[in-house]
Amino acid sequence: MNLSMLKCGEKGKITKIGAIGPLKRRLMDMGVLVGEEVKMEKVAPLGDPIEVIIKNYKLSLRKKEAEEIQLEAIK
C-alpha cells in the first residue's frame, strides 16, 4: 500500500520510496525516509493534494507523488 491510500487520521510506516532522481532526493531532504512514521492529516477539498504529518511538521504533496511512497499500516 502507498501513502495516497491512507485515510484521514490513519498512520503508516514508510517501507520504500519508489521515486527516483530529484523527486526522491527532495522527499528525503524533507524528512520522508524509510522507517519514518507518517500520518494522513487532510485531503484538499478538490481531492488533491494531501497534507501529511511527518517528523512533527505539516507537509503537502500531490497524490501522484504520494503514490511513490510505500508503507505498512500501523494501528
Binding site: P22, L27, L33, P45, P49, K58
Partner: protein, 739 residues
C-alpha cells in the same frame, strides 16, 4: 546605517575594503521560512522581503552594516532543505557557500522543527567553515513546551549555538557578539567532524587523501567534495570531471554500495538524518502541552472538504472587493485632481512665464495626463499590496495554494498561481509582481503570460461606453460575458502553452505548510510600502515617457488641425485595413487602440479627442488658488470617508460610475453611427485581449529581467484578439445577429 549592495564587490573595491580593515562576510543559510531574512532585517536595518511561507527569498541579497567597530557584510540566501543541486535555490545557496567562502556561516534553524533543520546543519558542517547556529523562532518552540539544551548542542557540534527570536529582537546581540568572536578566532569555531559510520568514513577518507594531492583541495572543502563525488552530484562531477583529476570514485564507493544495497545518495541521506536524529534526542526536551494549537483549529475550518473552497473564494472575493472599494474614492480623487486643480495650476504657472501654447498642451495633456494615469493606479496598488502582504505574513498563502492546486494543475499551473490570476481582475500590474511567489521559473512565466487575459479594471471604462451605446438592455450579461471570455481563453491558452512552450514534467508540489502567524503592523506597513514604491518609481518613469510620446504623435506635425493628419492618425490609417476584416477598419479605432497601450482606459479618452470636436473653450469661472486648495482638501476628506464607508458595505459594483460627462454622451452618439452591435462587441473583445499595457510590460520586464515574455505575450495576444474578433464578427454575421 546600512546599504544594500549588489554582488559587485570584486577586484579593486574588494582590495580597498581589505586595506581599510577587512569586512567580515557572513553567509546566512537555513531552511525556508526559518527567519533568515527577518534576522538580517533586524540586525542590519534592511527591508528584505519576509513572508510566512517557504520560498520568499529567491536570490541572494547582501547588506553591509557596522557592529563593534567592524564592518560586517551579511548575505541573505534562499532557504533550502539541503545542499543538493536540484532546485534553483539550492544551487544559488551552495554556490555561494562553496565558491565565495564567507568568513562565517550563520545557520538559522527553526527551533520548532529541530530535526529536519539539523539535517541541513549537518550538511553545512561538512563545509568546514566556521559556523554559528541561531535557534530562531525560539518563542514558538517554548510555547509548544520544547526546551533545547544549547550547551550540549555546542559540545556536540563544536560551534556556538544562540537562541533567538528575530521578530522581537531577542538574542540578536548575543548573536552578533558570537559572529565577531568567531571571525576574530575562526580556527576555534570550526565545526566538528560528525561520524557518518565506518563504511562512509573510510570511503570518504580514501577520496580525501586523493583530493589532497590535487589542486582541487584549494578550491573545495575536501571532505565535502569527497561526499559529493560519492553521491555522484551532477553539478560537481560536471565542474571537475573526477576521472581527469585521477580520482577513483567508483573504487571508493564500491564496498559501500554492496554493503548497503542502496544508492549512495540514500545511504548518505540516512547517515545525515541519523546525526540529526541523534542530536535532537540529546538536546530537545518536550513537555506535551495538551491544548490543540491555533493552527490546527484554523485549518480544520479553512481546509475543510466542504467549506474549504467556498471560504477560499469568499476570502479572495473579499480582498478583491475591499481593495477596490477602499482605493476607488482615492483613485477618483487623484484623477479629478490631476484633471482639475493641478491642471489649472500648471496652466496658470505656464501662463505666468508666458510659455507658448504647445508647451501648455504638452504639460497638461501629455505630462500631467501621463502622471495622472500613474497616480490613479497608486491607491489600488497600495491597497492590493497591503492585502497581499497580510496574506503572506499570516500563512494563508500556502493554504490557498493547497486548496487551488488541483484546479490549477489542469491548466499546467501550480496552486500558487491562483493568486496572481485573481489579482489580475483588479489590475494586471500587481498580479505580475505577485508571480514572484512562484519559485519555479516555468510556472512563473506561464502565469505571467495568462494574467493579461484577466479583465482588469482599466478595461471597464471602454466596456461601459460601448455597452451603454448598444447593449444597455443587457448590460450586466454582456459585461459578464467579457470576463468569462477572458477566463475561458486563459484555460485554453494555458493548455496550449503547456503542450508547446512549457512541455515536459509538471513541477512537483511538495510544500511545507507553516503555522499561522500574526504579522506585526509595523512590518505590514514597511512591506506594503516597499512593494508599492517599487511600482511608483519604475512605472512612473515609463508611463510618463509613453504619454509624452503619444502626445507628440497626436500633435505632430506642428499645427495639425485634423487629428487624421497627425502622426498617430496616419499610423492609424496604415493599420486600419488590418482591422477591416474584424469589423472596425477605420483610422479612429486604430489610433485609439494604439494609444491604449499606455493603459486601456485611454482608448476611450483618445476616441473622445478624435471623434468629438473639442467643446468650445468653455471658460469655467476661473477659481482662485485658495478655492482650489480647499477643493483638493475637502474632496480628499470625502474620498477618505467614502473609502471608510466602503469597507463596511462591500457589495455592488461601484466602478460603473453614474456620473457621465457630456463628452462621453457625445461619444456614444458617434459610436452608435459608426459601429453595429456586432462590430462593437468585436471591438470590446479586441480591447479585452489585444495586448498588455505598458505598465504590465514593464512589470514583466522587471520580474523576468528580459523582454522575452512580454514579447511572447504581445504576439499571442494580438493573434488571439484578432482571431476572436474575427470569429465574433463573421460568426455573428453568418448567424445573422446584429449584422
Amino acid at each position: 546605517m546600512s546599504t544594500m549592495t549588489e554582488e559587485r564587490l570584486q577586484g579593486s573595491s574588494r582590495a580597498a575594503l581589505r586595506a581599510e580593515k577587512k569586512a567580515i562576510t557572513v553567509g546566512v543559510a537555513g531552511n525556508p521560512n526559518s527567519g533568515k531574512s527577518t534576522i538580517i532585517n533586524a540586525i542590519a536595518g534592511t527591508r528584505l522581503h519576509v513572508g510566512n511561507w517557504p520560498g520568499v527569498t529567491v536570490e541572494k541579497k547582501s547588506a553591509i552594516f557596522e557592529y563593534g567597530g567592524r564592518k560586517i557584510r551579511i548575505v541573505d540566501l534562499p532557504g533550502t532543505y539541503s545542499l543538493s543541486p536540484y532546485t534553483q535555490e539550492e544551487i544559488i545557496a551552495r554556490d555561494y557557500l562553496i565558491h565565495e567562502k564567507p568568513d562565517v556561516i550563520l545557520n538559522v534553524v527553526d527551533a520548532t522543527n529541530l530535526e529536519r533543520n539539523l539535517y541541513l546543519t549537518v550538511q553545512v558542517m561538512e563545509l568546514g567553515i566556521p559556523t554559528v547556529v541561531a535557534l530562531n523562532i525560539y518563542d514558538e518552540a517554548e510555547k509548544r513546551g520544547h526546551t533545547i539544551n544549547r550547551r550540549v548542542m555546542e559540545d556536540m557540534l563544536g560551534v556556538k549555538v544562540i537562541p533567538t527570536v528575530a521578530t522581537k529582537k531577542i538574542g540578536l546581540d548575543d548573536l552578533l557578539k558570537s559572529l565577531l568572536e568567531v571571525a576574530e578566532n575562526p580556527s576555534a569555531h570550526c565545526p566538528k567532524h560528525l561520524n557518518y559510520g565506518d563504511d562512509i568514513e573510510s570511503a570518504a577518507k580514501m577520496l580525501e587523501t586523493q583530493i589532497g594531492l590535487t589542486p582541487l583541495a584549494e578550491k573545495y572543502p575536501p571532505r565535502w567534495l569527497a561526499f559529493k563525488l560519492m553521491e555522484g552530484d551532477s553539478q560537481v562531477s560536471g565542474e571537475i570531471k573526477p576521472d581527469d583529476s585521477g580520482l577513483s570514485v567508483s573504487k571508493a564507493v564500491g564496498h559501500l554500495k554492496t554493503a548497503h544495497d542502496s544508492d549512495i545518495e540514500s545511504i548518505m541521506a540516512d547517515a545525515r538524518y541519523a546525526q540529526a536524529f541523534g542530536l535532537t534526542r540529546e538536546v530537545l526536551q518536550k513537555t506535551e502541552s495538551g491544548n490543540i494549537e491555533l493552527t490546527e483549529r484554523i485549518d480544520r475550518i479553512v481546509l475543510n472538504r466542504v467549506l474549504g473552497i467556498p471560504i477560499f473564494l469568499a476570502a479572495m472575493w473579499f480582498v478583491f472587493k475591499l481593495t477596490f472599494d477602499v482605493s476607488k474614492p482615492f483613485a477618483d480623487w487623484m484623477s479629478a485632481m490631476t484633471a482639475g486643480p493641478f491642471k489649472g495650476w500648471a496652466e496658470a504657472i505656464l501662463g505666468l512665464i508666458r510659455a507658448p501654447g504647445w508647451t501648455v498642451s504638452l504639460v497638461t495633456d501629455g505630462v500631467m495626463a501621463g502622471v495622472g494615469s500613474v497616480l490613479v493606479f497608486v491607491p489600488v496598488i497600495f491597497a492590493m499590496m497591503f492585502f497581499i502582504t497580510f496574506l503572506e505574513g499570516s500563512g494563508y498563502m500556502a493554504r490557498a495554494a493547497f486548496v487551488m492546486d488541483r484546479a490549477m494543475h489542469t491548466i499546467g499551473l501550480h496552486g500558487k498561481s491562483f493568486i496572481p490570476m485573481l489579482l489580475g481582475f483588479g489590475c494586471n500590474v500587481p498580479a505580475i509582481y505577485a508571480t514572484r511567489t512562484l519559485e519555479n521559473p516555468k510556472d512563473k512565466a506561464l502565469t505571467a503570460l495568462l494574467v493579461p487575459l484577466m479583465s482588469c479594471g482599466a478595461r471597464l471604462p471602454v466596456y461601459v461606453v460601448f455597452i451603454g451605446a448598444f447593449f444597455s438592455a443587457h448590460a450586466g450579461t454582456v459585461l459578464w460575458s467579457l470576463y468569462v471570455m477572458g477566463i475561458v481563453l486563459a484555460i485554453i491558452v494555458g493548455i496550449c502553452f503547456k503542450k508547446t512552450l512549457f512541455k515536459g514534467e509538471a513541477p512537483m508540489f511538495i510544500m511545507e505548510l507553516p503555522p499561522y502567524r500574526r504579522p506585526s503592523f509595523k512590518s505590514l506597513m514597511i512591506h506594503t510600502w516597499e512593494k508599492g514604491k517599487h511600482f511608483l518609481i519604475k512605472a512612473g518613469t515609463y508611463i510618463l515617457a509613453v504619454s509624452i510620446l503619444i502626445w507628440f504623435l497626436l500633435n505632430l506635425p506642428w499645427g495639425v488641425e485634423n487629428k487624421k493628419d497627425s502622426y498617430l492618425g496616419k499610423v492609424g490609417q496604415i493599420i486600419a485595413p488590418v482591422l477591416e476584416p474584424i469589423g472596425f477598419g477605420n483610422w479612429e479605432a486604430a489610433s485609439s487602440l494604439i494609444s491604449g497601450v499606455i493603459a486601456k482606459e485611454i482608448v476611450v479618452g483618445t476616441m473622445g479627442e478624435i471623434y468629438v470636436a473639442k467643446p468650445e473653450d468653455e471658460k469655467k469661472n476661473p477659481s482662485t488658488f485658495s478655492e482650489d486648495l480647499k477643493e483638493v482638501g475637502t474632496s480628499f476628506v470625502h474620498a477618505a470617508e467614502d473609502s471608510a464607508a466602503n469597507v463596511f458595505s462591500t457589495v455592488g459594483i461601484s466602478s460603473l460610475s453614474s456620473k457621465e460627462d457630456e463628452k462621453r454622451a457625445g461619444l456614444k452618439a458617434v459610436i452608435q453611427k459608426t459601429y453595429t452591435p456586432l462590430s462593437a462587441y468585436a471591438f470590446v473583445a479586441f480591447v479585452l485581449l489585444y495586448m498588455p499595457c505598458v505598465v504590465v510590460a514593464i512589470a514583466m520586464r522587471q520580474e523576468f529581467g528580459t523582454w522575452k515574455w512580454f514579447g511572447i505575450a504581445f504576439v499571442y495576444q494580438m493573434t488571439l484578439a484578432w482571431g476572436v474578433a474575427f470569429l465574433i464578427y463573421h460568426g455573428g454575421k453568418l448567424l445573422g445577429i446584429g449584422g
